[in-house]
Symmetry: C2
Subunit: 152 residues, 2 copies
């Protein structure tokens, strides 16, 4: 079964290519915008009242699928692709939780975008603390990362 | 531009149809499993060490796209589809944060699945508290819902 997806817009960012792009919104994301096709603007109604949004997008420049990958946060060990956020995943679907600044027409400005300019945007969802802010999560190998060393 | 997506597996749940399905994992989700196609099993390496996972899936029985919807948590008002988690969204992509119980071969058992049985699974990502657990989020209209009345 193949599912056909048509982007709802694209992501505008400072990152021109894969070598430049940020690692995660919380680490080294930068100001940018989600640009929504005009026909979907009505769908943004009420979104400005949220502090965070979930962007679902396509790693469009990624060709490879690797079931084990070596993410930049742990250069010494491979991890299963579903235990990582690395882009070489089947279907190349990415997800970032972004901090919403404001919405103007079809532009959703965010302060911590981490993807390459022109990344196809597949969906926006509101970040809902009642569903998405889990209590006492265990984050596997990410819990062993020295985050003070990772931050720029 | 159309992007072709091939499911990595499907979600096994107690919910036979849309009328029965849960509203959210945290509200009335139930025990179930993500069943991964055998060729992707290596990608699960390390996932068992996470307490929560992010399932991205396709609302495969949903035909409609509505840019304004009336989610069950607020039956008195329409909300923009991108300010809600309602399924009538462009591309019909769903996302749930699930509590991982254990992994056995190609089966990822979770305690709070909220989707219909046989929902096509597009991706699994680990829930990483350093990226996904936002501090002091404002959740728009969801913050006005009486959650004590909503819980079953």
């Amino acid at each position: 079964m193949t599912i056909s997806i048509n982007p709802i817009g694209f992501i505008q960012s400072d990152f021109a290519d894969q070598k430049q792009s940020a690692r995660q919104p919380a680490i080294d994301g930068r100001h940018g915008a989600l640009i929504i096709h005009d026909r979907f603007i009505d769908g943004l109604d009420g979104l400005a009242e949220f502090s965070h949004i979930i962007a679902i997008y396509h790693f469009h420049l990624q060709q490879q699928v690797l079931l084990r990958a070596r993410p930049c946060f742990d250069p010494d060990k491979d991890h299963g692709i579903f235990a990582s956020r690395y882009p070489t995943r089947p279907n190349h679907i990415g997800m970032s939780i972004l901090t919403l600044e404001n919405i103007c027409g079809n532009k959703v400005y965010c302060s911590d975008i981490d993807v390459i300019n022109n990344t196809p945007l597949l969906d926006i969802k509101p970040y809902v603390k009642q569903f998405d802010r889990m209590e006492n999560p265990k984050s596997g190998w990410y819990d062993g990362v020295d985050w003070t060393a990772v931050k720029i």
